[in-house]
């Protein structure tokens, strides 16, 4: 099985209460790939400039990620984002955005990217997401988006959403998209547009999975130190879809979906422990599966109800 991701490849400058980095590898497609690469073969589609060098390619290649569909734009600069976080690490403050080569990005899938069984449309302009989805032969397609597109391209976003299987978005953005303050109703409304399921990412509170007839939720992993949340949502999506691609089952049983939710949560929890991709780059299989097991233990509720008291 294999998985194609289309999204941003970036350099990020980030300051948090715990330190700062002036220039580090980032972007939704990068965070996603580094997580998904633990489960399946990943092809990255996205644009870079001349400043994207061998060191950056190597980070991806070391995880076995196929970089041949990264489009190098001669004379261009790679997408650059500068932001900071205050003590409330749930809110990213953007200080500078230089779209650079990303501003003219017209995704073109190679034959092998087209043929991947799974596709992730990371957060890019929704008309582009729709075009990519139309080019792809994937049997399982996931999509992320953000408030910018809800504000400026809502109809396009709804069309893109209608064409995919799984929507993975922040819970605040799901409420905003549907104008439904109740998350359960917001998720049902998204499902009514076409997708089979919705994953509501809830930051430190974890994540919830809604299908037409089931619900599953996992808390966030209890971390004493969150250094940099940038990319956590994409790492979640990478763990989630990477695992599902490796399962290669069109049915997607409840058990597989719950495992996928857990791997997503595991990867997101590691992502935030250090700046940018630093922690996920250094991750081992043992660390991932130990934390998977911790998630199982910390949510385990194998117990029957008791007899209640009568007044």
């Amino acid at each position: 099985m294999s998985l194609t991701v289309v999204g941003s490849i970036a350099f990020d400058a980030v300051r948090t209460p715990f330190g700062e980095r002036e220039r580090m590898l980032g972007g939704s497609a990068v965070h996603f790939s580094l997580a998904a690469g633990f489960f399946t073969g990943v092809k990255v589609v996205g644009p870079v400039g001349d400043d994207f060098g061998e060191a950056e390619y190597d980070v991806l290649r070391k995880r076995g990620i196929d970089t041949s569909d990264i489009e190098r734009v001669p004379g261009g600069d790679t997408f650059f984002w500068r932001g900071h976080y205050e003590y409330d690490l749930n809110v990213a403050h953007t200080d500078d955005t230089q779209l650079n080569v990303f501003g003219d990005f017209q995704p073109k899938l190679s034959d092998s990217s087209r043929e991947a069984e799974t596709l992730f449309l990371a957060n890019i302009q929704p008309d582009l997401q729709f075009q990519v989805r139309e080019q792809s032969q994937a049997r399982l397609v996931g999509l992320d988006s953000m408030n910018l597109w809800i504000d400026t391209a809502r109809d396009s976003l709804r069309r893109a959403i209608a064409s995919v299987d799984i929507v993975l978005m922040n819970d605040a953005e799901l409420r905003m998209l549907t104008e439904q303050p109740n998350l359960v109703r917001a998720a049902r409304e998204v499902i009514s547009l076409g997708p089979r399921m919705v994953v509501a990412k809830q930051g430190e509170y974890g994540a919830a999975l809604f299908t037409a007839d089931s619900f599953f939720a996992l808390p966030g992993y209890p971390l004493e130190e969150v250094v940099d949340p940038t990319g956590a949502g994409d790492s979640f999506a990478g763990g989630f879809l990477g695992y599902l691609d490796s399962v290669a089952d069109d049915e997607l049983s409840d058990q597989e979906l719950r495992r996928a939710m857990t791997y997503g949560s595991v990867l997101a929890s590691f992502n935030v422990e250090q700046f940018g991709t630093e922690r996920v780059q250094a991750l081992t299989h043992g660390e991932i599966n130990r934390r998977f097991e911790e998630f199982r233990l910390m949510t385990h509720l194998d117990t029957q109800p008791v007899e209640l008291r009568s007044a």
Copy 2:
């Protein structure tokens, strides 16, 4: 076993986007008792005025709650609260507070209230909480508080907290109390003051339990309609401590604590389905234990990790 709760008994006027009520039975001790009464014998300690009539006593008595320590102040009026919620049901807006007899409340425990094995100090002035705790012979004591006391009586609150076993507070208030933006650290700091454990109530996101060496979290029950969140935290505490009192085990195993968290979550989820105490008044044993089972199913993760991919 038996349980004493000291807190407010009130009439509430509440408006939400889903309707309003001009005058209904409320108050932390009432919401707590109606939930805890499903598990154990409850004694309520709190003041009421002449306007608190047989109809109100009957609501409590029907659940088998001992009302003999309710202090009736001749010529006084019962505590009155008027508030409303916007579409963000997590935030209560107070429009009017008339403390009435609650303003001069000096809790006095009868012999039988003193002898209860479990005590819940609902949200009242922390010096009063401490005095009640000193009078009580309980082996298990829980405490709730709020931003008002963190702002105006922080040292008193820390002394009260140091004297109890379990702190149950909103997560935002735990952060505020400890000035720790990270919830795990905030909980650890509260435990370092003396309590054996901390329950962080997280509204629609559920609740998390921290002990010195363990963590457990449950999501909120996925409700399509939340009508009135008033009292949800007290219903949680009632289900949680009511169950623990019924267990009568000083050790409090992980399994018992997780069951208590689940019953707390079940009672809180019913509380918000209708105005005030309406839903919890009408609850049946079958409804409670069916939802307990739903919580088990929607968090169930009985699965092993898989072999990961090597690059």
